[in-house]
Each structure stands twice: as C-alpha cells, then as structure tokens.
C-alpha cells in the first residue's frame, strides 16, 4: 500500500546509477596507466596493485590520510563536547536571546566556506596555528558545532522531562545527572552527531587546503600531486580516490539504522 508500482526497477536503476561512477574509479585503480590510456576495458584485463603499493609505501602519500584523520577526529571531539551542554540548554530552558542565538548558529552552518578562506588564513597565521591539524579542526567547528547542537537538541527533546526531575529529586547533582543519566539515554544521538561531524569535516577541502601547507597537508590536497608535466597519473589518482571512500563507507555501516533520522537533524 505504501509503495509505488515498479518500485523494484526504480530503486535498482537508481542504485546502479549511484554505483557506476564509483565502480569506474575502482576499476581504474587496478589498471596500469598504459591500459587506461590505450584501451577502453570494462574490467582490468591485467590487474595490478602497483598504484596501491605506491600509496602505502610513499610517506608523502600515506601521511596525507593520517593528517586528514587527525583534524577530523579533533574536530569531532571538540564539536560534540561543547554541543552537548548547549543542546540540553536549548531543549530545556528559555533564556535571554535563545532564539537569536539559535538562528545565529544556524546561519553559520550555511555560511560559504569561500568567504572564510582568506580571513581564516590570516587568523590562524597570527596565532601560530597555521599548518597544524588544530587550525583545520577549529576552522571546521564553524559548521560542525551548529550542526551538532541542532542534531543533539532534537534527541535531547525526545527524552521526557520527568527523567530530569526524578534524578534531581533523587539527589543527583547536575554534572552527575548529565554523565550518568542523560548521556547514556541519548547515546544513539551522540553517535549520529559524531557521524555527521566526521562526515562534513572529512569531505571539506577548501578550508583544509587553505590552512595547511606541508606538515599537515590533507589527502585531498596531496591528490593534486598526480598532475605533473608528463600528464596525469590516472591510476594513482583513482587509487587515492578509492582509499578516501573507505573510511566513510566504514562509518556508515555503524550508524545505518539512524542515518535517515540524522539527516533530518533529529527532527522527524
């Protein structure tokens, strides 16, 4: 009753459409450059692992992944830990300027990264954080903290208020209530919020590239190295691309049951 005719065909066609470009990338990552350029083959006829070997043995390549993961993890930890108390405050209390504050946060989630690229460069150079993972992690807070507050507020609001009141009557102090009762109750929400912080920090390139040069260079910036005077090293580029998809695919698996609600920012 709640589905439409031909749904199997529609969903299958759409999934194929999603997977085809990714398959092409994977396909190319196992080919030699000679095979890529000279022939059009639907699967690698002489499969090679050479492209992957290059990435895993060359430090300038694999350090890109480590640098990216560093700032993504720092950012996720900062975002969640400051957003939790704020989400509770927005969900339970009214206070001076609460609505304006909420709107201001929201507007920062929407601010174009291109606007901030240059001022961030000045700011983080001035405080000597340029070219460290901290600069990128703090810069990404501008869109991840508002997002985390949003998602967590939705989840905190679905916890009945009576639970807070009972806990306080039982003599719980506020910090103890927060850690022992509230956090376990919204653990799935924290998981979802962390997933989204991870995701948006992981996929962002413009700020990450602007705020780093050598020591903290993210993988997405390293990938531009495949372009040289001799042309583009397609196989290597494809292999590097495939490896950036894997962390995302792994974290999706853990939150698959909450993805839909998370994308609705906890507000369905």
């Amino acid at each position: 009753m709640n589905t439409i005719p031909g749904r199997r065909i529609i969903i299958s066609a759409f999934l194929v459409f999603l997977l085809l470009p990714i398959y092409w990338l994977v396909n190319m990552s196992f080919k030699t450059n000679n095979e890529i350029v000279t022939t059009m083959t639907l699967w690698p006829h002489s499969p090679t692992l050479e492209n992957y070997v290059t990435i895993f043995t060359d430090e300038s390549w694999y350090s890109g992944y480590i640098n990216s993961l560093k700032y993504v993890i720092i950012n996720t930890v900062i975002s969640i830990s400051v957003a939790l108390p704020a989400a509770y405050a927005f969900s339970r209390y009214r206070f001076l300027g609460d609505k304006h504050l909420f709107f201001w946060l929201l507007s920062n989630r929407m601010a174009p990264a291109a606007v901030y690229a240059l001022p961030f460069f000045n700011l983080y150079s001035a405080i000597n954080l340029f070219d460290t993972p901290w600069a990128v992690a703090l810069a990404h807070c501008i869109f991840n903290v508002p997002l985390a507050v949003w998602i967590l507020e939705g989840f905190v609001s679905s916890v009945p208020r009576e639970i807070d009141e009972t806990a306080f009557l039982d003599g719980y102090s506020f910090p103890r209530f927060f850690v022992k009762i509230l956090i376990p109750l919204i653990s799935s929400g924290i998981g979802v919020a962390a997933f989204f912080c991870f995701m948006f920090s992981w996929v962002e390139l413009l700020l990450a590239r602007t705020l780093t040069s050598v020591a903290a260079k993210p993988i997405s910036a390293t990938m531009t190295r495949t372009v040289s005077a001799a042309g583009i090293d397609w196989g290597l580029l494809a292999a590097a691309g495939v490896l950036t998809i894997i962390p995302g695919a792994l974290v999706i698996w853990f939150v698959r049951n909450y993805i839909a609600r998370g994308f609705a920012l906890g507000r369905v």
């Binding site: 092409w24 174009p112 606007v115 901030y116 961030f120």
Partner: protein
C-alpha cells in the same frame, strides 16, 4: 510542555558561543575591514569607503557584471538541481524496500556518495565524463553524440548537474524516507477501507507527512548548491570560459587568484547577506511548522 525560564542556561551555551564566535565573528571583522579599503601592495591600505560595494552592485563595471552573472548562473543551477532532485528523491524514497536486509543495504548505498570528499566527487566525474577514458563520455560519443565537457558549455553544464544529482539526491531520498517511516500503519489501513486510490494516498497522507522534511531538504539543497565550490571547480575549473563559474568560484578567483582583497571582501559580505536572508526565511518557516506539531516530536 513549557520550557522554564532560567538565565543560568547561558553557562551551558557559553562554550559553543565562544568557539563559534572565535571562528565566525573575528574573521568577519577582517572581511569588513578589507571591504572598505584599497591596497597597492606592500601591506599599505587606503580608505575606500563604500567604493567596492558601489562597483559590485553596478552591472556596468567589470566587477559588477561578473558578480551579477555568477549570481544568475548560480540561481539557475540551484533551480535546475532542485527541480530534478526533489521529485526524484521522493520517488526513490517511495520505492525503498519495506523490510529485511535490503533496507540496510539500500540505506548504505544511498549514503555512500554523501561521504565521499568533495574533490574526489569531482575527480570521479572528471574521469567518468572524459571521452577518452571515462565510461560516460565514451558511451555518449559512441552513440553519436559529440560530447565534450571541456570545450562545450552545454556539456559542461550537463556534467555538473548530473554530478550534483548523483551526489545529493540521496540526501533528499533519505530525508523523505525518514518522513515516510513516521507514518503509522493505521493511516494506510483507514485509506484502504475508504477505497482510496494510490494517488489519493500519496496526496492526502504521505505528502503532508513529508512536509517538514521536504522543507529541510529543499532549503539545505538550496543553501549548499548556492555555495558550491569544490566539485565544479575540479571538473570544469569554472569553464569553458566562464560558463560554470558560480559565486564561490568567482570569489576565490578574486580573493586568492588576483589577491584583490577589497573587492573580494565586498563580494563576501553581499554574498553572506543573501545567504543570511534566505536562512532567516528558512528559520521562520521551520519554527512555525514546529509550533504546529504536537508538544513532543518523539522518536520516529
């Protein structure tokens, strides 16, 4: 349930306030500062008043013309992708399997494009669309279409739009799916007893229930497409000519390419203002919709 008034809640919000203010207000001050000054290099700045803003909003100047053209281009792009992604997303959400392992599999595959770094999305389509080594470009040329996104405006647009549909339709579909999941079975049973047609069920039950999430979807997609940078930059670099130069690409060209700080800052502020206005409409509509729903949103 009414929220209690308590000013001490500010202490809970303070860390968020400080950290966002640090990364939003401080840099914005720099931008405002640049926007009213001119420089001839050597870090020497001169007061220029609202000169940059006048130039920016006057279509007869070079800067104004470029800005206006990029805004129209960007609005057209946003309109096209919304017109494709929203209906397609709804159809995909309605086609989702009902239960079993297929649901999890579909959700994971749907979410996959959303977790690919944006420059890799660009790279994937750059490769996929190339006539010599990409499947899409190769097939299109084999069946007789002269497709080349590097030299032809229309092909470049086709590639960028198709890429965005590939990248973001899943977001709309996942949001709609979350909305559909929250409809109790009783509604469908009632409709069945009334002998409602498939279309009537969609119009009277599913669409109203998806209202809220569709609103979020439309506005998130509008915002994100209005500040799109990385993906088209990787695929087309804003070309051929200027045909896919969206507002963000134009801004980065001026700021980091030509290092015209005054112009770039003025553009940033106007750009931010547009976003802020749309955001305000979004927020007002959403809080109004929120006021209508029952006191507890609850878990879907």
């Amino acid at each position: 349930m009414e929220k209690t008034v308590d000013q001490k809640a500010w202490f809970l919000v303070l860390p968020v306030f400080l950290i966002v203010a640090f990364s939003a207000v401080l840099p914005l001050m720099t931008v405002v500062n640049y926007s009213v000054q001119d420089t001839f290099g050597n870090n020497q700045f001169f007061w220029n008043g609202v000169g940059w803003f006048k130039e920016l909003l006057d279509p007869n100047t070079d800067l104004g013309e470029r800005f206006l053209a990029s805004v129209w281009r960007n609005l057209l792009f946003s309109a096209i992708i919304l017109a494709i992604e929203v209906p397609l997303g709804i159809v995909v959400a309605l086609s989702m399997p009902r239960q079993g392992w297929q649901v999890a599999a579909c959700l994971v595959i749907l979410a996959l494009p959303l977790l690919i770094p944006w420059n890799v999305v660009g790279t994937i389509w750059q490769i996929f669309g190339r006539p010599d080594i990409g499947l899409l470009g190769y097939v299109l040329n084999e069946i007789g279409l002269n497709y080349n996104y590097v030299s032809n405006d229309l092909d470049a647009w086709f590639t960028v739009v198709l890429m965005d549909v590939w990248h973001w339709t899943s977001l709309v579909a996942l949001l709609c799916y979350a909305g559909l999941k929250s409809i109790p079975d009783a509604y469908y049973q009632a409709a069945q007893i009334d002998g409602a047609s498939r279309w009537a069920v969609f119009k009277a039950i599913q669409l109203p229930k998806m209202n809220r999430v569709l609103l979020i979807a439309v506005l998130l997609r509008f915002m994100d497409s209005f500040m799109i940078y990385t993906e088209p930059f990787v695929v087309t670099g804003g070309g051929p000519g200027n045909s896919t130069t969206f507002v963000s690409i134009e801004l980065v060209k001026i700021a980091l390419g030509q290092f015209d700080l005054g112009k770039a800052a003025a553009l940033s502020l106007v750009y931010n203002l547009i976003i802020l206005i749309v955001c305000w409409i979004f927020y007002t509509v959403m809080t109004n919709a929120g006021a209508e729903r029952p006191a507890k949103g609850g878990i879907a």
